[in-house]
């Protein structure tokens, strides 16, 4: 198996994009290609991550459209759909293709255009990820899932609403330093705690926004990376695992077992342990998830994630900064593109290009991209490759 490097990355500003899905996919892809200094290269393959183009922009076979728009023809091109973990899945498959020796130059682009549909339509489309007869038809939404998990945590571990507000305030503060973030506005703990109720006990400020956005990376074998750029980022490991679809049927509904399994795989492959990680991007579609994932990845003991938040461990200047980009909460959540936006942020962090939100001495990084409600998780571990 060959070592694989990310030699270029780029993204669009998340939020409400004036352009269509293909415009933002092309913009992020061309930025990644220029960043890799690969404008004149031939590409072997293109993986496009997207969850709902057929429903939100009435367009299918979007990978064929992207290779046409940016002329990567005749590269092999396909779309990967794995819910909000589509980008993590696409990167994983692209990694395997390069590591195996089958492809040398690969573009991986995640893109989602969600502002074309009304909020209730998007909420319904996202809810179709749940079990069709045992969950969906009963009126469940993803915020309702987040709310039920929050209540279990409050009951069992003494988590309070204030902890959720602290995560939101931290992520808003980070987003304010990220020119690519959807939400660039400070939020106070008191402000978050007086926002409207979405799914009790989750208020508006503990729930991510609906965003348009795209992010892309270029991969090649690590031993060829220096022909392009000085600071390649090595993909040190990945993990990918699933769990029972309905939350009620899981061994313990308060445990994200797919996160636990995927991280174990990723740490084993990378030859690392949680304490080695300097910075992480995790999937905080709801602020409770940042806390639960930080435990199930292994950064903190189960039930103690909220204590780490209280102590500032996960703040930008803490021992383990989490979501320096602002996370899904502030950077935004363009479902199929979110996992790639996490990777792009971490590549910039490792290269030291994050300006005001730069994490000091970031050498090893972890991304947790999460599909369904925690039943399909892709983890990647990145490190400096120079």
């Amino acid at each position: 198996m060959r070592d694989v490097a990310i030699i270029g990355c780029g993204m669009t500003k998340f939020g409400r994009s004036p352009g269509g899905l293909m415009d933002i996919l092309a913009e992020a892809s061309m930025r990644a290609i220029k960043d890799a200094k690969a404008e004149k290269e031939d590409f072997d393959a293109v993986y496009v991550a997207n969850m709902m183009a057929g429903e939100t922009v009435h367009q299918t076979a979007i990978a064929s459209s992207l290779v046409d728009r940016i002329n990567l023809i005749p590269a092999a091109a396909e779309r990967l759909e794995n819910g909000p973990a589509s980008s993590g899945s696409a990167l994983k498959n692209a990694f395997i293709a390069v590591a195996s020796g089958f492809y040398d130059m690969v573009l991986v682009a995640g893109g989602e255009k969600m502002s074309t549909a009304d909020t209730d339509v998007v909420t319904d489309l996202v809810a179709t990820m749940t079990h069709p007869t045992a969950e969906y038809i009963h009126g469940v939404t993803l915020p309702a899932m987040g709310a039920m998990l929050t209540r279990l945590y409050m009951e069992r571990y003494g988590l309070t609403e204030r902890h959720l507000a602290m995560v939101a305030a931290k992520n808003h503060a980070n987003g304010l330093k990220n020119p690519y973030a959807h939400i660039q506005r400070a939020c106070t703990i008191e402000g978050a705690m007086s926002s409207g109720m979405v799914a009790d006990p989750l208020r508006l400020y503990y729930v991510c926004p609906i965003s348009d956005g795209s992010a892309a990376v270029v991969l090649c074998p690590l031993d060829k990376a220096k022909e392009f750029i000085d600071k390649p980022v090595r993909i040190a490991g990945f993990g990918h695992a699933t769990d029972v679809q309905t939350v009620h049927e899981r061994e313990d509904p308060a445990v994200l077992k797919s996160v636990q399994l995927a991280s174990k795989q990723a740490f084993k492959m990378a030859g690392m342990k949680p304490a080695d990680i300097d910075v992480a991007e995790v999937h905080d579609a709801f602020e409770i998830l940042e806390i639960v994932e930080s435990e199930d990845i292994g950064f903190f003991e189960k039930g103690k994630g909220h204590i780490a938040v209280e102590k500032g461990v996960t703040a930008l200047d803490g021992e383990l900064p989490i979501n320096p980009s602002g996370g899904l909460k502030a950077r935004g959540h363009a479902v199929g593109a979110t996992g790639m936006a996490q990777i792009v942020e971490l590549v910039w962090q490792l290269r030291g290009e994050c300006g005001e939100r730069q994490v000091k001495e970031a050498k090893k990084a972890l991304a947790c991209n999460f599909g369904g409600f925690g039943n399909n998780t892709v983890i990647h571990i990145l490190e400096r490759g120079w």
Binding site: G139, R151, L202, H248, P253
Partner: protein
Amino acid sequence: MEKFIGYKCKSCGRVMYPKHDRCLTCKGIEFEEVELGKEAKLVTYTKLYAVPEGIEMPPLTLGIVDFGNNVRAFGQIMTDDPQLGMRLRPVWGKLRKLRGKDIYGFKFEPIEKS
């Protein structure tokens, strides 16, 4: 009368809901239909204010209930005053409208303290 049905693995006895074609515990592939139970306890819940289409009056109370032995189900809880641990029974009724059609299924009604 409609019965709230689960699937009991003929090899290991585990009861599952919804249906799986290989047992979640032992990978057994033969099942018999069993009634999940007449009484369950509320494990967690939410009062959903941002309701999806076809739900008439927010908030909608949703929750996970436990029939015992880790046999659980998810559904609508028919009270505005949910309490963790409260006793509930499954009842058949209209859940919502979905794309113009009435959808029926089991929801959970509090059992009055006697």
